[in-house]
Structure formats: structure tokens, C-alpha cells
Amino acid sequence: MKKFVLRILKFSIPALLFLLITFTYYRHSKTKVESKLTAFSEHPVLLMGDSQIQRLHGDSISQGAKNLASSGEHYYFTYQKLHTLTQNKNHRIDTLILGVSIHNFAPVYNRLFSLDFPEGEKSLKKYLYFIRMFDDSGFITTFDKVLKPAISGIYTAPDFGGFYESTNSNPNEEIINKAFNMHFSIKQEEAKFSHSQRDYLYKIDRLCTENNIDLILVSTPYHFDYKEKIDRKYFDFFLESLKKLKHRRHLNFIEEDIADRFMSDANHLNKLGAKKYSGIIGKKLKAEKRDVLQQ
């Protein structure tokens, strides 16, 4: 019996060593990530959200603005990033420009927030360093689903987000359908609306209030054909969700008719569109005297 237990322990040495190295590497990387986020908290204006907001030029909106938006980012991860940023007592964040749109409440965001789906595993891999494991978020609930994406995430560079330029223009029907199906099709039995997105949007709202951060919501334009495909119920859910926010400043360009040459695909601006709308948003903010650096 003693011999058997010793054999098991001996056999486990490489695994234990691997776990020890992984844990040490995680602690080391986590410290680096936190210090990088602390450095980002020196920026007075931050742009956060998913790939839509990623297309906007920070500098065209406000000098020194930092774009931290990242593709397919659920508000849970945005909240966790912002939470770490505001942990710095000397942070200088004054304004948060947050992307919010109709597709943000589509079924795809349920998949991005569940480890039952490959999308959720990918989220964990990308944002592992920004979250607190086994918090009460409902994202990580069981140990067995976490191990693979978590180990993979530890050895993957964390996704801090940042400006992304699209060169494509005049999207065709196939591209629009692809985006629509990705966002709105129900692949297994996920719910029709993403309630978790709404919950974390409210949490971001509260966090901004607690930290005296001005929250400005921005909805960049959609391609007309994509907009036409969306069920009215999603528009209602979107508007209903925004009504309950404390911060109601919303720059909404969804209803605008936009020329195809400004769009990269169904819901993303291209280089030209980014330049145009970053400028418009910047001007609107300046007009309202919201540019922090000018104050």
C-alpha cells in the first residue's frame, strides 16, 4: 500500500512540477498584466467594448484617449478590466466611451459567456488574466471545464484590445449573412437574449458612478441590409435595457443611413468610416465640452 502511494506520488512529480511552473508563470504574468492596466489607467479617456468600438480612432475623439476594445468582448470582461483599472487609486480615468449595440444582446453573447461553447472557452483563453477565478459571475462554475482553456490561456498573450483598422468596403450579401448568422442564430439551446450582457452593462454603469467616471454609450452604424434582418424584438430589448441605466448619454448612429463604402462588413466601420465617425464623436464631445484634456 505504502509502495503504491509512493509510486503514484513519484509518477505525479512531472505533473506537479508542470503545475508549479504554470502557477508561477501565471502569478508572474498576472503582475505584469496588472501593471500594464495600471499604466492604461493614466489615460483620461478610454474606449471599451467589442470589435465595433475597436474600429474608432482614440486620438480623433480626444487627444490621449486609449482604445481597449476587443473583438467579441462580453461586458463581463469589460467590467473586470475596468475594475482592475479603477483599483489604481491614482487613476486618471474621467470618461469611458463604451460600445453598445443591438447585437450585443444577441445569442452569440450567451455563447461567449459560457464554457459549454467553444466561444466561451476562447473568451476564457483571451481574458484569463483580467478575471478573478470562481467569482460569483456564473462564468466559471465547475473546475472540469476550466482546466483546458485556463492552461491554454496562461500561456497565451492576454488580449488588451486596441484600435483595429479594416480595409474592406462595400460588403456583399454573403458577408452580411455570415455576420447575422453568427450573431443571431441559436446554435444549441442558448437563450434568445443575452441577459448576462445586460447585467454586466449595469455593473459597468455602477462602477463608473462609484468612480466618478463619465460613461458615454456609443452605437456605431450598421449596414442597412444587416439592420433589416434583425428582429424588432432585439431593438426593443436594446432600448429597454438602456432605459434602466443611470448614465443615459448615448450617441446612437444605428438609425443613420450610411453609404456602403464606409462599412467593412455588416456591423463594422472600415478605415474611411472610422475616420468619419471618430471625427463626429470627437466633435460632439468637444461641443459638449467633454474633452478632458481641454479642461
Binding site: K3, I8, F11, P14, T142, D144
Partner: protein, 482 residues
Amino acid sequence: MLFNSIDFAVFLPTVFLFYWLLANKNLRLQNALIVLASYVFYGWWDWRFLFLILFSTLVDYTIGRKLKSQENKTKRKILLWTSILVNLGFLGFFKYANFFLDNFKSAFSFFGSEIATNSLSIILPVGISFYTFQTLSYTIDVYKQKLEPTKDFIVFSAFVSFFPQLVAGPIERATNLLPQFYKKRTFDLSKAVDGMRQILWGLFKKMVIADSCAELANHIFNNSADMNGSSLVLGALFFTFQIYGDFSGYSDIAIGTSRLFGFNLMQNFKFPYFSRDIAAFWRRWHISLSTWFRDYLFIPLGGSWGGTWMKVRNTFAIFIVSGFWHGANWTFIVWGILHAIYFLPLLLTNKNRKNLEIVAQGNFLPTVKEFLQMLFTFTLTVFAWIIFRAKDITHAFNYISGIFSASLLEVPKLSNPKGAMITMLLVFIFIFIEWLGRESQYALEHLGLKWKRPLRHAMYYTIIIALFWFNGKEQHFIYFQF
């Protein structure tokens, strides 16, 4: 509690340490610990159904004791039938009540009279078919005076509820398992190491092969109407390996776990997909169930000794009951009938015991003839699995029609082609390892035993890494529902 869960990964070492460290010197204490652990194991799923196991245990223990003292033949028969009716009554109620209700309803409406009944909301107790058959074998063997009834209630409870094989077998015979509870069990290092190896291989079969195949098979079967012929063939193949990996993987974990506690369970699978005819397949697939039916149904009905009519009748009886045992659905019955049709020509021409030995024994490769025989048997099996897996008979019919269409020659349409390619590669590696180990109890039993320790451990680590890296999303064992 699932074998492939964190709960079990904590449960097993805890029970193991208590068993060998605290209860080592006392056999009664060891048996009591097994009962306690088994009840915790089962109650983890739903504690209410523990009363069902306890009731079944009490009934068969009491009947066993009474059979010992009773010499009157009629009274002995009454006792036997009481046990059969109680056990099959529970099984019938929990598993088949809705099936009969729905079929009665359909039959009445066919003849023009509608009856208003609602399906009952019944939860199927996990493993009921397994432990019911195990306790029944005890009573029948005691009745036939093949076995001395036990006086020890703890021993009998341990036999009925022994956690490694409680919910999905192997269905142990009382003549094999019960005596093991009386013997003093001392820790055997080589047996424990071998048990660990078998658990590892079982987990690989379940988590890597079965669960990866399950995702693809489920997608194809659930969307079969939109799939082309070649995709449907792939779906059937994925299910073929899913069900084998799932069930034989469970058996390997069960046998390996039992070995850790000093028990030997019967072999439940002998590389069935390397069979050269259907008779050989049934000697190698779910052996504990097929031998149960052979001993308690086929032979009492007259077996294959009578005339042609009797052979035909008995063959159909055993295969239909075997199909129905799997669940209350016509698909299982038709699956059983199909296997009876496959088997009957072999029986009638006395060729059912032709391929008893291991294929290509002592050789690396089979002969062309052996290969073609295996391929033919495998194809028949895959075809039957389509019916087994389908939602209902119409679904099975449409699925098979879809295969035999012009789209059979098209490129398969898969939602995740990369995942499918990786799964196919894993299945090929799996078949290769199984082929190498086909002369052992399980594929990994002797594989690499002559290698140096670092190399052997590297192989085990490769399997462990595969468990984490390639495990599929599906977690539940298919046979839990049976």
C-alpha cells in the same frame, strides 16, 4: 456520480485510503465501507432512489434466506416469482410504463377509439436495469441451488450496490462476485497498478474517443434531414465508436476501480469490432448481458438444441428482449430483430462457433480473408447502430434512405471539419492501439510493459494530456439511460 468528474476524482482516493488504512484488518468493516461508499456514490445523483435499491436488496435477501429453508417445490416457485415480479415490476414501471401507455393509446386510436391518457412523469432511476438483473441472477441461482444464499446482509448489500459496477455494469453473477466479499482482501500492488492502468485506458476511451465522436454524431443525427449521404455515413461511424468508447470505457473504469479494492469483475468487452462474424461479435460485446440472457433465458427456453423452429423462436426471443432491455423504444426492438436476422443463418448452418479464437493471433496483420470478414461484420454492426441511435423508426428509415442516395458520393458537409479530422485521427490511433492489444483483457494491459519506465510513463502522460486536450463536451454515459 460520474467516473469522469472531479467529484469522483476526490471520492475514489478518499474511499481507497479509508478502505486500506482504516478498515484493512476487519473484513466486515471493509464491506460496510463499500456499502456506505456505494450509497453515497448513487445518492450523489438522487438520494430518493436509494430506497429503491434498499428495498430490492431486502426483498432478494429475504427470499434467498427463505429459499434455503423451504423444500416445498410450489412454495419455492412462489418465492422465485415474487422476486421476479418485484424486480421486473419496478423495472417495468420506471422504464416501460410510458412506452406501453403510448402504444396502447396508438393501438386504440388505430381502431378508431380514442382514449384520454397522459404520459406519466417518471424519472428513470440510473442503472436500474443493471442492478435488477444482478439481483435476479442471485435469486435464480439460489432457487436452482447453484448458490448458497448469504446470511450476511451487509455482504448482500455490498453485492447489490457495489459502486464500481452499480450503474452500468458489468452485470455480475452472484456466483462470481458474492464469494469475493467473504474472502479477506489484502492489498496487491501489481493488481492495483494494473487497475490504475485500466482506469486510465477507460477514461481515454470515454473522454477522448466517445465524447469527441458524440459531438459530431449528435450534430449529424440531429440534423440528418439536411445532411448528404457521405455525412450520414460519417455520423453512423462516429456513433459506432462513440457507443463502444462510452460503454467499454465505463466497463474498464469499473473493472480497474474494483481491482483497486481487491475485486475481480468479469470482462465485458473483447474487442468486438475485430469480430469475423456476428456470433463472434455477440461473444465480445456487452458479455455480461449476453451471457445473462443466454443462461437465464435462451437455455431455459431450450437453447439451440431443438428443431429449426425452436432455434428461430429462441433466437428472436433473446435478441428482441435484449433490444428491449436497452429502452422503451421501437428502435431498440428493431435493432434486436436485425441482429437476430444477422445471427440466424450462422446458427442454422452451425457456423455460429466458427470464429472463437482471437483474430490473427500471434500475427501483426490479419489475412485478406480475415480483414474482409471483419469489414463485413463491422458494416453490419454500423448499419444496426443507425437504428439504435435514431429517435424513432421514421427517423431511422429517413437516415438510411439518405445514405443510399446520389449524395453518397458528395464531399461530407460538416459544421466543424477541423474537429472532425482530429477526431478521425484519434479514432485511427485508438483502433491501432486496440489492435495491438487485442490478445489482452484490455488494450493497454501489456502494451509497453517491457519498455523502460521513463518511456512507459511518457506513454501514460501522453494519454493524460490527451484526456485534457481532446476531451469532448458530452459527459454522460450512454448506458446510464438503460
